[in-house]
Point group: C2
Chain length 222, copies 2
C-alpha cells in the first residue's frame, strides 16, 4: 500500500452511513474518493458526496457515490481533502490542483475537515516547499501580479500547453513563491483584499485533523 493510499484509508474510516461527505481534489483525495466508493458498495452505506471540482464530481459518480450540489445540502458532515503543505498548526497551502476556491467553499461548509497527505507535505512553515496559488480574474491580471509582488513574493502565471491555465470558475492562477509565510491568517486576508484576487490557497484554521502517512505508518495530527 503506498503512502497516499495509507493516509486516505485512515481518513475514510470516519465516513459513516447517512453522511454528506465533501469530496476533495488532487491525487490523494482521489484515492480517498475511490475508497469511499468501495466502502459504499461493500457496506451498503447511503451517503451523499459534495464535489470540490469537476474532476472529483466525475470520479465520485464513476465509483458509485451519489453526487449532489452543495447548495442543496449546505451542511457537510465531513470533508476529506489533500494539501500541498501542512504546517504544525494544521494550516495549509492548497490549490496546486487548481480547485482552491471550490475546496475552500466546501471546507467552510464542513463540520469536520480531514486532510490526507504523505509526509513529504509536512513543513515547518508555509511556503517552505510550495508556491502559494492565488486565483485572479483575467482582467488586468498583470496589474494584480505586480500588486502581489509587492508582498514579497515571485508570482508566475500558471500555464498549460502554452496557454494560461483556466480554473473551473474561468479565472487564472498565479503561483506565488514566498521565502516563507509568517502570519498566514493575516496574509490570507491581505491577499484576498487585493482587487482582482478571487481567493488564495492559504487555509488557516479550517482543518480539524490530518492523516500523515510515512513509511512508519499514519500519524494523526489534530
Amino acid at each position: 500500500m503506498d503512502l497516499k493510499e495509507l493516509a486516505a484509508a485512515e481518513a475514510v474510516k470516519y465516513v459513516e452511513d447517512g453522511m454528506v461527505v465533501g469530496l476533495g481534489s488532487g491525487s490523494t483525495a482521489s484515492i480517498a474518493i475511490r475508497l469511499i466508493g468501495d466502502k459504499v458498495k461493500g457496506e451498503g452505506l447511503e451517503i451523499l458526496g459534495v464535489p470540490t471540482s469537476t474532476a472529483s464530481d466525475l470520479l465520485g459518480r464513476a465509483v458509485g457515490i451519489k453526487v449532489v450540489d452543495l447548495d442543496d445540502h449546505p451542511t457537510v458532515d465531513l470533508t476529506i481533502d489533500g494539501a500541498d503543505e501542512v504546517d504544525p498548526k494544521l494550516n495549509l497551502i492548497k490549490g496546486l490542483g487548481g480547485a482552491l476556491v471550490r475546496e475552500k467553499i466546501v471546507a467552510a461548509a464542513s463540520s469536520v475537515v480531514i486532510i490526507v497527505a504523505d509526509d513529504s507535505k509536512l513543513v515547518d512553515y508555509l511556503g517552505q516547499k510550495a508556491p502559494l496559488p492565488v486565483e485572479v480574474v483575467r482582467f488586468s491580471h498583470k496589474t494584480t501580479t505586480r500588486r502581489l509582488s509587492a508582498l514579497g513574493c515571485r508570482p508566475v502565471l500558471r500555464m498549460v500547453d502554452n496557454a494560461p491555465f483556466t480554473t473551473d470558475n474561468g479565472n487564472y492562477i498565479l503561483d506565488c513563491r514566498f521565502a516563507r509565510i509568517d502570519g498566514p491568517a493575516a496574509m490570507e486576508s491581505t491577499i484576498n483584499n487585493i482587487p482582482g484576487v478571487v481567493d488564495n490557497g492559504l487555509f488557516v484554521g479550517r482543518a480539524n485533523k490530518a492523516m500523515i502517512a510515512s513509511k512508519n505508518g499514519v500519524r494523526i495530527m489534530e
Copy 2:
C-alpha cells in the same frame, strides 16, 4: 445642464494633456467620458483611456479616446467614476452597474480618483439607500448567499430578463441590503474573506475628491 452633467464637467477640468485616464462606468461616468472626448477633440489633447467595463471601453472608443489596457499602462494618473453612495468620509458603495471588480482594480492603480454624482447619492452612512453589490463565483452561490446573510444583510441575486445577471468576469452579483454599514473598512475585508466572494462594492479610502452636483451648484468634497 442636468446635475450629472454639471458634476462630470467639473471633474473633466482635471484632465490634462498626456494623462492616462481611468474611464468609469455608469450613467454619470458615461457623461464624463463623453465630455473627455469633447475635450480631446476641442483642445487637441493626447490622452490614453483605461476602461473599467466593456461599456466604458466601447463608449471611450466611440467618442474618440485612445483606449488602452491597464496592464500596458499600469499607472493611471486620474480616474473619474460614479458611485451609488458617498458618505461624509468619501467612502463609497459602487457596483449597481455591475463593474465593481474592474472599477476597484483601476481605482487601486490610480494616483487620483474623482467621484462624480448628484446629491441624491450623498448619505450619512453607507447602506442608507443602496444595497451593497457583492460579486461571487457561480459555484454554490446559494451557500455564499447564506454566509452573507449571517452578516446581518438581506442578499438578493441580481436578475436580468429572468436569468441571473452575469458580470464581465462571468460571475453573479448578490445585492445585499444592510440596515447600515458601520466600519466599512472592516466590512469590506470580512466580505472579501468569505469563500466564493470575488469582491464587493465597498470602496474605502480610495476616492480623493467627489464632485457633488445639486441645484445650488457643484460642491467639491475632499
